[in-house]
Symmetry: C2
Subunit: 329 residues, 2 copies
């Protein structure tokens, strides 16, 4: 089905507000999910509305939460998402961090008692569009083990980064630290096909080609021991240093059972002029020029930016089934 | 040959001060190189003294440089290493960042016109020993391409991280973003043996098992496209946002030819109490307990910490050839 972005947002807002979510939160969530859909990230898009709405109805997420901000140190804000959705907390961060970064040189937001972080690229890009550099990490329901281990302790724990580049779109990096998304293993199980041996481990920590064994085990980190170490770093920053739940303490983001996930996210925003003086913008343009001059290289983030631009003009295509599900809520 | 740490430092100080390095810089370098050696990181240890001394003698590194600090924003310091060694700049950062982080909540040091960053783990660990969390990135002479490309534009661009854990050593992560160290390819060339096909690309961007073709090409990033994207992030932070040279503009760290490398490093130090309140230390202990309870998991950084402790007690073993080279300088 074809939808304009505005129509898609209205659809999401309606579905959420009928399931114990207030108007302001529903708007924030709708904007984020539709932007994800527009950027070609359907897995963090409209397909999530069902779980989001059911969790609000069940009270696993608080649809009436108002994120609370506390600034006890000049360059750091703590944001309590109050077990609501993550996006209103990110909106709050985006409303205060730029000014703090411009004044202090760097600013940090630590978000706790939060929820699904969605497409981090879209959050960091907001800062780059204001001329700032942003780094963001998030934890997530546990699906990866520490290297050599068998117990899921870390989420796929994404790292995202955005930097402004003069006269073109920001450079945006957004990557989960698992080798592949867990959704790919779930899809293989549904189709009854094997998975490559480097995607996941079984419950004994051995590589497996069996999708069912993989889902009972752990996802393989990208870059083996190094990816697992980075997932540990993200866990400490996004979970430990925010006062959030750790990945292994969090409940599922996909069903309405159990207590609130209570996940955490950390955002660090840097004023390039503070760290690098006045010439940074031109230097970044030069770096991007050097990288782009190599045939075969595609800049990270460009595909999503192109897709969003096209979606703004001509709307998005969404599977009828997904729309029907949202209408039924 | 067996040496105490003090004797090893004296050896390095003598060699450097005879090659146009002042006493204070020689001390700082000696401490860093001997600590690297003690941590089992010989590739960043005494083996480097020859190149360090020859570069000072040739003026490629300024052995008399005094790093200069500028603080125009409350939470950010810019450090000009003035084409000297990196370690005196890190010492300067370590002398000011803790207080800034305690006051502001977060502190950033941007180091430019710098040199070989050595073992980043040892630098970030200093902050963790003071109860702070530290994140550090560095660029390096270009050896990796952007994903899909053929031109070396990024260094192996390491990321390091340290966090304090109550009643035990800090948790320390330190990883280069190449799949393996370039030294491994150089060793294979010397022995005349093939390398695994996932270590490097030839000059056409194709995987190669030929060590000579690999050295003319680029190193493979850890975690493929994701590692290459992280290397780009590090390049922007450590090179672009500091006002340093980019990796592709830097000269070699191994010979005394050409202009100064002028590399960059960025350090971010977080006060855990500012971002996470009073309970962070106990939470991190709990995370480490959860990770360690999984048999087969070894915490990152532990091997180096154990090696250093042993070296403090009983000294280090260094190849006679390395000592002879240092004596000859």
């Amino acid at each position: 089905m074809h939808l304009t972005l505005a129509a898609a947002e209205t659809l999401v807002i309606d579905a959420l507000t009928r399931n114990r979510v207030d108007e302001a939160n529903a708007r924030s969530v709708a904007r984020a999910l539709v932007a994800a859909e527009a950027a070609g990230q359907g897995g963090h898009g409209l397909r999530r509305v069902e779980a989001y709405a059911k969790q609000a109805k069940a009270g696993k997420v608080d649809g009436f939460a108002k994120p609370q901000l506390e600034r006890l140190f000049p360059a750091v804000v703590r944001i309590d998402a109050c077990y609501g959705y993550a996006y209103p907390a990110f909106d709050l961060a985006a409303s205060v961090l730029p000014e703090i970064a411009r004044e202090q040189g760097i600013a940090l937001a630590a978000v706790r008692r939060s929820h699904h972080a969605g497409v981090l690229a879209l959050t960091v890009e907001r800062f780059a569009e204001m001329g700032l550099v942003a780094l963001m990490v998030a934890n997530a329901t546990a699906s990866m083990a520490a290297w050599g281990g068998r117990k899921p302790v870390f989420g796929t724990n994404p790292i995202a980064f955005a930097a402004p580049i003069p006269e073109t779109d920001p450079l945006v990096i957004d990557l989960a630290l698992s080798r592949v998304a867990r959704g790919k293993v779930m899809a293989a199980r549904q189709k009854g096909v094997d998975i490559p041996a480097d995607w996941a481990f079984d419950r004994n920590g051995q590589p497996t080609t069996d999708a069912i064994a993989a889902l009972e085990g752990t996802m393989a980190p990208s870059g083996e021991a190094k990816g697992a170490a980075l997932a540990m770093m993200v866990e400490i920053l996004a979970g430990g240093l925010t006062g959030a739940n750790f990945s292994f303490e969090s409940s599922s983001l996909f069903d309405d059972k159990g207590s609130a996930p209570g996940l955490g996210q950390m955002l660090i925003v840097i004023n390039p002029a503070a760290s690098g003086g006045s010439g940074v913008a031109e230097r970044l343009a030069m770096l991007v020029g050097e990288i782009s001059s190599d045939p075969g290289v595609r800049l990270p983030g460009r595909r999503g930016q192109t897709a969003r631009r096209q979606a703004l003009e001509s709307g998005i295509e969404v599977e009828g089934e997904v729309i029907a599900t949202i209408h039924s809520l």
